[in-house]
Symmetry: none
C-alpha cells in the first residue's frame, strides 16, 4: 500500500537523478543564444508532467515574450474540490566558471551533502520538489483531495513579461483557491521559515549634465559644476545621517511595523544576523537605528543606488571634466506605498535641490511592483506551517523578505489566498558562483509539498 510520503522516500535517488538532468539544461532566459535550451527544458517538463499523471500539460508560447510557460493540470479531485496553483520558475541566471565557480556551473556536483549547480537553489529545486511531490501523490492509492494546477515560468530572471500578459488575458487558466509561490529561501538548513511579506520595487535613472561636451579639466575646471560632483551632491541628499530616506513624502503611506511584526521578526533576528555576518560582512551594520535587522530588510522601504558612472574610469588618469554622469536607482517598497507616487516624491525632491548650474533628466520604465503582505493567520499559511513542521520536525518562523517576487502580486489576482513556500537557503548563493543546496532540503521540500496538499485537502473536505 503506497502512500505519497513513503513513495517519495523510496524513489528519492531517482528524483535526484531527474533533478540533475534538469539542472544540466542551460535555461538562461537573459541570453538569446540559450532560447533553444529554454524551449528544450519546457518540453522536458511537459513530458514529465504527463508521465507523472497530470491530466494535461501545455507548453504555451506567448507573442509578448520569448520563454515558454509550462502549464499542467490535474482535475481528479472533482469540480467541487478546491484547487491549488503551484508556481515555480525553471529559468536561471547566467553563470561562467570564470565568475568564481569551483566546479562547472551547469554540471551538478555533489560534495559533502550539498549539490552545486546554477539553478540548484533558484529555482529548479522548487520545480523538482513540487513535481516530485505531485508524482508521489498521483502514484499513491489515495489521490489528492484537491485539484492541482502547476505553472512553470521560463523568464522570471528576465522580466516575466510572458506570464504577466498570460495572467492578464487568461485569468481562468490560473484561477485557484490557493496559489503557492514556490521560490526563495528559508532561514537555515534546520530552520524553515514562511515569508509573509515581500517588498515592492520601483526604478529610475538620473542623469546630470552641465557642459555641452566633455572638457579638459585643467582648462575649464573651477568654472563649471562638474556633473559627477553635482550628481554626488544630489545623491548625498537622499538619505539622512540615520540611514533614512530624506525625500519629503517618501514615508507618507508606509504601513507601520506592528506589534505582531515585532514579535514574529524577533525570532528571525539571530538567523538574519548570522547570515549578515557571513554574506555581507561589512565593517558595520547600517540603516535606520530604531528598526531591527529583519525590520530594516523586510518592513522598511529603501532607496538604493545600483550603479553610477561618469567620466573616465579606465586604467590610469584622464583629466576630463565630463559632460554628464548618471546613476541607476531602485527603491524597495513596503505596504502601502504606491510605486508611482514614490517616484513622484523623489523626482520632486531632486528637482527642488538641483542647482541652476546643472540639468537633470530622469528615465523611467524599468521594473515596478507593489509590496505584498500575506495573512499570517490565514488557512493557507496555517497549512504551510503544518507542512514545514511535518517535513523538518521544527515549527517555521515568520519573516518578511527584502526582495520582490512580482508574480505574487499577479497570483493575488487569480487566487483567493497566496502563500510562499521556499525550500532554498539564503546561504545558497542564488545568482552567484557556487550556487548550492543541501540535498536534505530537496527531500524535505518534497515531503513538505506532499503534506501541504494533504492538509489543504483534509481541511476542505
Amino acid at each position: 500500500m503506497t502512500n505519497p510520503y513513503a513513495y517519495a522516500k523510496t524513489n528519492q535517488d531517482r528524483f535526484l537523478t531527474e533533478y540533475q538532468e534538469l539542472l544540466r539544461i542551460r535555461t538562461i532566459s537573459t541570453q538569446p543564444q540559450h532560447a533553444d535550451d529554454v524551449a528544450r527544458a519546457a518540453e522536458w517538463l511537459q513530458a514529465m508532467m504527463l508521465r507523472i499523471g497530470m491530466d494535461s500539460a501545455d507548453v504555451i508560447l506567448m507573442p509578448e515574450g520569448r520563454c515558454p510557460l509550462v502549464l499542467g493540470e490535474w482535475r481528479g479531485a472533482g469540480e467541487d474540490a478546491p484547487t491549488i496553483l503551484i508556481y515555480c520558475h525553471y529559468d536561471v541566471q547566467p553563470a561562467e566558471i570564470v565568475d568564481g565557480w569551483d566546479t562547472e556551473p551547469f554540471e551538478p556536483t555533489i560534495k559533502a551533502g550539498r549539490l552545486y549547480c546554477r539553478g540548484a537553489v533558484d529555482s529548479k529545486l522548487h520545480v523538482m520538489a513540487n513535481l516530485k511531490a505531485l508524482e508521489s501523490w498521483l502514484a499513491a492509492e489515495d489521490k489528492p483531495k484537491v485539484n492541482i494546477k502547476v505553472v512553470l515560468e521560463g523568464e522570471e530572471e528576465s522580466g516575466s513579461e510572458n506570464i504577466n500578459a498570460f495572467v492578464e488575458k487568461h485569468p481562468e487558466r490560473l484561477a485557484a483557491d490557493i496559489a503557492v509561490i514556490s521560490d526563495g529561501a528559508i532561514l537555515a538548513p534546520d530552520q524553515p521559515s514562511l515569508t509573509y511579506g515581500l517588498r515592492g520595487v520601483t526604478a529610475f535613472e538620473l542623469r546630470v549634465s552641465a557642459p555641452v561636451s566633455d572638457l579638459h579639466s585643467g582648462h575649464w575646471g573651477g568654472s563649471v559644476h562638474n556633473p559627477i560632483q553635482a550628481l554626488c551632491e544630489i545623491i548625498a541628499r537622499l538619505h539622512d545621517e540615520n540611514g533614512a530616506v530624506s525625500v519629503p513624502g517618501f514615508y507618507d503611506d508606509v504601513a507601520a511595523v506592528t506589534a505582531q511584526d515585532r514579535t514574529l521578526l524577533e525570532k528571525v533576528e539571530p538567523f538574519m544576523q548570522d547570515e549578515w555576518d557571513s554574506v555581507v560582512n561589512a565593517p558595520a551594520l547600517w540603516g535606520e537605528s530604531e528598526y531591527s535587522l529583519p525590520e530594516r530588510l523586510g518592513a522598511r522601504p529603501t532607496l538604493e543606488i545600483n550603479g553610477i558612472h561618469g567620466g573616465y574610469t579606465g586604467a590610469g588618469m584622464k583629466t576630463v571634466l565630463p559632460a554628464s554622469a548618471f546613476a541607476k536607482v531602485t527603491c524597495r517598497l513596503v505596504p502601502h506605498q504606491d510605486p508611482d507616487r514614490v517616484l513622484n516624491c523623489i523626482v520632486e525632491h531632486i528637482k527642488n535641490i538641483t542647482p541652476d548650474t546643472i540639468k537633470v533628466d530622469f528615465q523611467f520604465g524599468g521594473m515596478g511592483a507593489e509590496a505584498v503582505l500575506l495573512d499570517v493567520e490565514g488557512s493557507a499559511m496555517s497549512a504551510a506551517a503544518a507542512a514545514y513542521t511535518y517535513a523538518w520536525g521544527v515549527e517555521p518562523v515568520f519573516e518578511r523578505a527584502g526582495g520582490s517576487v512580482p508574480i505574487t502580486f499577479e497570483c493575488m489576482k487569480v487566487a483567493q489566498e497566496v502563500v510562499i513556500m521556499s525550500y532554498g537557503l539564503k546561504s545558497g548563493r542564488a545568482h552567484g558562483p557556487n550556487e548550492n543546496i543541501y540535498l536534505q532540503n530537496f527531500y524535505n521540500g518534497i515531503q513538505s509539498t506532499i503534506k501541504f496538499i494533504d492538509v489543504v485537502g483534509e481541511g476542505r473536505r
Copy 2:
C-alpha cells in the same frame, strides 16, 4: 633669394600634407597596444629632422618609460651663440568615434577652414609648426643666429616619466638659454595670448567598499552602507556651496592673486567668457564667486572628479548592491602649493569624514606637477610677444592657463628663461571629440616661431 618667412608661405600646402601624415599615426601613449604606433611616429619625426637639415636627431629609449623621446640639434650658429630649446609632444589622448566624433578621429578632415583630428590641437599642431619653422630657416639663405635644440616627447599624456628621468640624468642634452614650451592654446583665432602661469596637478583614486561581495539589493538593502552612496556622500563634502574646496589646509599655501594679475587678466576676461559660452555652455557659471573667470581658471586651485564608477551601468536595471565603488580625482594647483602636501590634506580630511560603516582606500602614483609662474617682463617673453604681433598682426594679451604642463617645471632646471608659445585654440576640444584647429593658426604658428628665432638671434648678436 629665399627668406624663411617666404619659404614657409610657398610650401604651406606641403606642410599641411605632412601634418596630416603625422596625425594619422595613432600615438596614444596611454594604451599599450599603440606602443608600435608611438615608436613609428618617433622614427618618422627623426627622419624629418634629418631631412630638414638638423645636424643630428636621436630617438632615445629610456628604461624608465615606454615612449621614445626624439631629440634633434642644429649647432650652426656657433659655440658663442645662444641656444633655444623647443619642446613639443607628439602623443595624444585616446579617441573613438563612439565618443561623439562626427568624423573618424584619426583621419584628418578639413571642413570650412578647420582641420579635425585627434592631436590636431594637442599637440601635433605644435610639433609641425615648429619643425616647419625650422625647415624654413634651414632652407633659407640666412641661417639662424641661434643654435636650436628640439625635444619631442611621446608620453606627455601619460605621465612624462621618460623625459623627467632624462632631464634628471642628462641635463646637458637639453641645456639652453631659452626653453620654448610649445603646447596649449591662445585665446581666440585672432587674439594671440601668452601664458605666464600654469596650474600644477596631483591625482589620486578613492575606493569605497563595504560588503565582501556584490549583494542582491532587495535581500540586503537597508542594512548595509551602499558604497556608491557612501562615495557620493564623501565627494559631496569636498566642496562648499560657493564652489570652494572644503578640505582643511587645501588653500594654506596658495599665492594670492596680485594687482598685476587682476590688471592683466581683466583683458582676458571677455575672450574667456566668449569661449566659455561656446565651449562649456553649461546652464550657469559655477565656482568661487569672488574670483573672475580667468582667475578661477588660472590662479585658483581646484579639486575635480574625473571619473566615477560602481555597480551596474549597462542597459536596463540590475538590483545589485555593489561591494565597492571608486572615483578618480585630480587637483589643479597654483603657486606655492606642494602636490604631496595637498594630497595629505585631502586624505586626512576623507579619513576624518569616513563613517565606520565603510572602508576607504587610496591609490596614488598618477600625475604630479607644481604650478609655474613666469616673468611677464623677461626678454624671452618680450621676444615671444614680438613674434605673435608679427604673425597675427595683433599684440598678445597675457593669461594664466588652467592646465598643467609639467615639462615647464623640468625646463626651468635646464634653461635660464622659459616661455610658453601656444598656437592651439581653447575651442579646439583638446582631449574631447571633434578636436580641431583653424588651418590659419597652423600657418601663423609657423611664422611666429620663425620670427621668435629671428628676434632672439638679433637681440643676442
